[in-house]
Every structure is written in C-alpha cells, then in structure tokens.
Amino acid sequence: MDLSSRFDRIEELIVRDERCAFTLASLVIVCTIFANLSEVQSPVIGAITFFFYFSINGVFLGHAFFEKETAFFRRTFGFLLLIMLLSFVGWLAVVIYNLDVIRLTLVLLMVATLSSLLNRRVKSKNAT
C-alpha cells in the first residue's frame, strides 16, 4: 500500500467517525491542550496535540465543504477552513472579552463540535 492510499484510508476512517470515536478523540485532545497549558506547558505535547487536532478537524471540514475535490485539495481546504473557523471564533472571544486559557479551550471545543456536526450533516445527506 503506498503512502497516498494510506492517507486515504485514514481520512476515510476519520470521516466515517464510527461511534463518534474521532469526535471524542478531538474533545480529549482539547482537554489535553488545556491540561498542558495549565500545568505542564510543554511544546512537545503542544505540537503533538496540535497535529492531531488539526488532522481530525481539518479532515471533517474538508469533507463537509469540499467532498468533490481531489484528496490533496480537500485536505488543504479543510486545514484552511479550520484555521479560518478557529480565527473567527477566537476573534469573537477577543473582542467580547479575552482569549485566556479557559476561553481558548472553549473556542477549541466549539470548533471541534461544529466541525464534527458539519461532517455528520454531509455524511447523512450522502446516505439518503
């Protein structure tokens, strides 16, 4: 199996999100980010959680909006949309009050939930 088909397989697994496994994983990652920011403050943990958070939610959003695009562009657009969504909700938090650790965690939770819901919406639309 070559590299691109492995990526395709992982992407398929994430999009299928059976028993909300990846949604839950994404929420656990957010809790890890919160714990890391509050206690450990390790850039290594930060980089790992960042990678997984972006991989899961980027794929969700890519599937939700760019299902018909080829894999490369779907993933790229997914990541770009995730950055945009995070920035938009983060910007709202900044102008409403501030973006401290607790509010950042809320922003990440909101975006993760929204991405998962959008993915599910497209999935159920395809199923019917």
Binding site: I33, S42, G46, T49, F88, G90, W91, N98, L99, L108
Partner: protein, 620 residues
C-alpha cells in the same frame, strides 16, 4: 511497464531526491546565515545560498514539466515557497524591523490578557469607531497568533514571526494553482503559476512579514479563485465560499476586504452581462459604468473612512501636479515609487512579470474575440478588467489623493495575483511552441543515429532546441525566480534589532521584581514592545510615537541625570527606571560621551554586546 517509462520514473525520482537535498542544504545555509547584527539579509546571507537555491529552483522547474502527480509537484513548490518567505524570520533575531514588530507589541497584550475587548486598550468615542476598531485586522491577527501560540505552548514571539511566512508559503501557491486551473484547465500551466508567484517581488515581500494586511492578501487570493469559479457556475456552495473568503479578507484588513468586494461585485455584473442574449450597446454601457463604480469603490471608501475613524485625513487633491515637475509626475504615473532611487535592474525585476502578463492577457482577449468558443473566453475579460482596475486605482491613489492610511504600493500585490496565471500561460505557450516545432519537423524520438542522418545544420538545430527545452529554459526561469529575490528583499535598511538589544530587554524583564519604566530610543522601544507589550503598566515602554518618551530619551542623552528618570517613574507610576543606550544607533562618539557622563551620576545595571549597549538604572 515499458522499459523507457521505468527509466524515466527512475530519473524523476533521482531528480526529486536531488531537489530535496538541495532544498535541505539551502535551509541549512539559511540557518547558518542567522546573525545578531545586520542591516539587510544580503549582508548575512551565506555566499553559497543563492547559487544553491538557483540550482534547486531550476531543478524544480524541470520537474514541473514532467508527468509527476500534481500533489507532489505542489508539495515541492510549497517547501520552496516557505523557504523564500522565511529570510527575515530566520536571519534576523526579531524578524524585519517593520510594522510586524509594532503589531507584535499590541498582540502581546492580548496574549498576556493585559487588554480586554481587544486592541485598542483605551475606549473610543463613537459606536462606529468602536465597530471599526473591533473589526480592525490587528484583533483578527491577535486571535490567530494567540490560538496557535497557546495550542503549541510556545511564546507568541515565535508564532508571530513564523505565522505569515508559513501560511503564505503553504496557501498562496495552492490559490495560484486553483485560479490558473480554473482559467486554463491545464495542470502543467497551473503548477507553473504557483511557482511563478516568486517572480513578483511585492508578493515575496508581503509574504515575509507578519502583518494583518498579509493575512488579508491570502484570503483575497482565495476569494478571487471562488469569484472566478462563480463566473461559470450557479453552485450555492461556491457563492457561499466566495462571500466567506471576501468577509475574511475584510476582517484581516479593510484594503483587502474592499478590493475583494469590488471584484465580487464586478464579477456579478460580468456574469449577468454574459447571461444577456443580445449584449446590446446599453448592456455594454452598463458594464462600463459598473467597472467605473467598482474602480471608484476603493478611493471613495478611503475618503469615507473618516466616518469610522475620525483621525482620517484622506482627501482628493491636485497638489501633486502643482508641486512635482512634469517628468516626476509622469514617472510616478508609469512606475510609481520605482521612479525614485532604484537601479534599472530592479525596475525590470518589478515590471517584467506584470508587463508580460498584461501583454499576454491582451493577446488572449484578441484571440478569444476571433474564436467565441475559446476556453479562456469566460474568464479573460474579467481578469483583464480586474488588472485594469488595479492600475487605475493605483494611479488615483498615487496622483490624486493625499493622507492615505497606507502606502499605495500595496495595491501591486493584488495586480500580481491577477497577473500570475497569465505569466504562466505565456511561458507555457512559448515552451509549447518550441515543442510543437520539434514534433512537426523531426521524429518524436531522436537517436544519435537519426542525428547522423540529418544534415549538420539541422542536427545542430535539433540539439539547440532540445538543450533549450531541457536545460536552458528551466535555468533561465530558475534564474528569473531567484534573481527576483534581489528586488523583493530590501538592499538598504536601518540596523535591524540586534541580539544584544533583545538580551538587554529580556534581562531587565527577568530580573526586575517591581514595576519599571525604560527610557530608550525608538529601536529599544520596538524590542521592548515585542517582549513585554506596548504601554505595559508593570514593564513600561513608551509607544513608538509617544512624544513624552522621545523627549525623555533626548533629555537623558543631553543630560544623563536621575531627574529625568524620576520624572519617567512619576509619569508611569513605577518605582525603577532604566536608561538604555546603544552604540550603533547613536554613533561611537556620542555613545562614549553619554556613557562617560552617565557613569558619574547613575549606577550601571548591565553591559551587553561587548560594550555596545549600556543599561543604567535608578530606583525611587
């Protein structure tokens, strides 16, 4: 698999590995060029860097003409793009000495939760001013940087420096690819266009500095792609994404927002014009009126900015025509700021890409007029109008307006984004012509035996064309891309933030328990802002435009005594004051005089940079 295909794939893999090695080596050379004291990147750049980058770029171009997968080609281009946009961030210890440091000073306050409700930290008078401030790009960029910094658990300083070079390096080549693909439906032309972004010096420069305007350009480029897609589609998702990207362009910076919405409106007019069956004179007149309206949106929005920002002084004027000699006015109209103090070589590097694009755009317009079924017909007139709009807007802003809140040259980035597909099309067209000539005049595969059969003159002809196709063209284009970096990165600049200025400011911050104020020159203030934020009440640096701060520093240089430090402490409600002087900023003679005088009246807090920087202090 046929034997020759296998051989080709092997050769391709070897080329790709060689490219990866060369790019890795370029990264290494860039990292060892990192310096703590330089004016421009050119002073510090390793002598082998540019030749290595040139060879890597030429190889990358050669790979673009092969049948490799588009995704791999784009990944190679992205790696190249991130590298060419990272010069400032890698070479200088605190990035380019420009607006990005000022923005970091403000974003740091959001990161440290020192301000509530975003920037500015003070209350603004009217509701519309408040809306404008909250929608200001700085709050949007603050959100992006703070989220990344917190997620990665690193200081905002590092995220801010790398933010735009990385996002730009990744996302603009893809936007260029998609835009060109929409126009040409040709993968090879499209990947070429994502590499040709680097021939536009303004594009490279704005991709290398972390300011809200640069973020806005990225969103603008994607909005342009969806606007183009919408011209030929009635898909509601495309419409939604077109609006979303335009909105984000507006959220990042009002300049990118206004241009995005102007083009969006123009595209809707174009679409409805195309939908009309008769395309009568009245429809054409409406199209021209709509174009003029879209072109006037930017100048008018700048005038009416005063509704949101009372301090705006932008106005229409004819002063330039009265003040400037006629030849300078003509120079400004033709070349803009390039008229002043630039070499011919720099001017050529700046104008070659756009001129080629404009000429090819006109050629395509002419061609499509003769052939109504041509594939470019839908998009070429719209992109021509967009290009023309930038040219007109630039001239209006440059010659007929004053008190602009930004430099007019920023408009060139929009023009370059519109131009890049046409540059790729022109280059690809030229290469295809040579290819077609070879195929029609000679057999598809030429062996040495075939060459022997040809006359000497014809054999030479064939060899020259083959050499041009496989070696000279990639080298020439690679040279163009690499050489454009000379114009993209400034060759004259003030001394960048030095390592000892950074060390000094960090040392004060780490070793002072009580509230303090620092009196220093504007360069020290930039550093202070980056490390502790602007106007931080517990670590106070006067803003870069603060007259009191400037006066205090001037008085300290004339008379380095505790009275000014006491005044600064009273003014800022702090208990310790520091005074920083730096030799390269003041000149050796002045620096020595101040240090000698200060030593007699104030205790020395620290000496950095082998004596190039002195810190004096005084406590209440």
């Amino acid at each position: 698999m046929p034997h020759d295909t296998q051989g080709f794939i092997k050769l391709l893999r070897v080329s790709e590995m060689l490219y990866a090695l060369l790019l890795g080596f370029s990264c290494y050379l860039l990292f060892i060029s990192r310096t703590g004291e330089a004016h421009t990147i050119w002073e510090a750049l390793h002598p082998a860097f540019i030749p290595t980058l040139f060879v890597a770029t030429s190889l990358l171009l050669a790979i673009q003409f092969t049948s490799e997968k588009v995704a791999y080609k784009l990944l190679f281009i992205i790696a190249h793009s991130v590298l060419v946009h990272s010069f400032f961030s890698v070479i200088f210890p605190a990035g380019d000495l420009s607006g990005q440091q000022i923005y970091l000073g403000r974003i740091r306050l959001v990161y440290d939760n020192a301000v509530l409700h975003g920037w500015p930290s003070w209350s603004v008078e009217t509701v519309q001013s408040q809306i404008f401030r909250r929608f200001g790009g700085i709050n949007f960029q603050a959100a992006v940087s703070v989220i990344f910094a917190r997620m990665l658990s690193v200081d905002i300083f590092w995220v801010h420096l790398a933010l735009v070079p990385i996002l730009w390096g990744i996302f603009t080549p893809i936007a260029a690819y998609l835009t060109t693909y929409t126009l040409s439906q040709n993968e090879k032309v499209s990947v070429l266009s994502s590499l040709f972004l680097s021939v536009f010096p303004y594009v490279t420069y704005f991709g290398a500095i972390s300011v809200p305007n640069s973020l806005g350009y990225i969103f603008f480029f994607y909005s342009l792609y969806f606007i183009l897609r919408n011209l030929n589609s009635n898909d509601s998702e495309t419409k939604f994404l077109m609006l979303v990207f335009s909105f984000f362009a507006l959220l990042s910076h009002y300049l990118t927002g206004v241009i995005s919405f102007s083009l969006l409106f123009l595209s809707l007019v174009f679409k409805s014009y195309r939908g009309e069956k008769s395309q009568a004179i009245s429809a054409k007149v409406s199209l021209v009126i709509a174009f003029l309206f879209c072109a006037s949106l930017l100048p008018l929005s700048l005038i009416y900015l005063r509704f949101f920002r009372p301090s705006t002084t932008t106005a229409f004027t004819l002063e330039r025509f009265n003040e400037l000699p006629i030849e300078e006015t003509i120079g400004l109209a033709l070349l803009g700021d390039l008229t002043y103090s630039f070499h011919l070589e720099t001017i050529l590097l700046f104008v070659s890409g756009p001129t080629l694009a404009f000429a090819y755009n006109i050629y395509l317009l002419y061609k499509t007029k003769k052939n109504p079924n041509a594939k470019f017909r839908t998009y070429t007139p719209f992109l021509f109008a967009a290009f023309l709009m930038m040219l007109i807007d630039y001239r209006i802003l440059k010659l007929f307006m004053e008190g602009l809140p930004f430099n007019e040259e920023r408009l060139w980035v929009f023009r370059d984004f519109v131009a890049v597909p046409f540059v790729a099309l022109a280059v690809y067209g030229a290469i295809s012509s040579i290819n077609v000539f070879l195929k029609t005049h000679y057999p598809p595969t030429i062996s040495p035996a075939d060459l022997k059969a040809l006359s000497r003159r014809n054999a030479l002809h064939v060899l020259t064309l083959l050499l041009a196709l496989t070696v000279l063209i990639p080298m020439a284009l690679g040279g163009w891309i690499t050489y454009s970096l000379r114009a993209a990165y400034p060759r004259i600049a003030p001394l960048q933030t030095t390592w000892y200025e950074l060390e000094a400011v960090k040392h004060i911050e780490e070793n002072t328990e009580e509230k303090y104020v620092v009196i220093g020159d504007v360069w020290t203030i930039f550093v202070g802002e980056m490390i502790v934020g602007i106007n931080n009440p517990s670590a106070y640096y006067f803003g870069e435009y603060n007259k009191t701060g400037y006066d205090l520093f001037y008085n300290m240089t004339q008379d380095p005594s505790p009275q000014w430090m006491l005044q600064a402490m009273n003014y800022t409600d702090t208990t310790t004051a520091y005074f920083i002087v730096t030799e390269p900023r003041l000149g050796t003679e002045e620096y020595n005089r101040i240090v000698t005088e200060a030593r007699t009246r104030l205790p020395v807090y620290g000496v950095f940079g082998e004596g190039k920087l002195h810190i004096f202090y005084y406590k209440k």
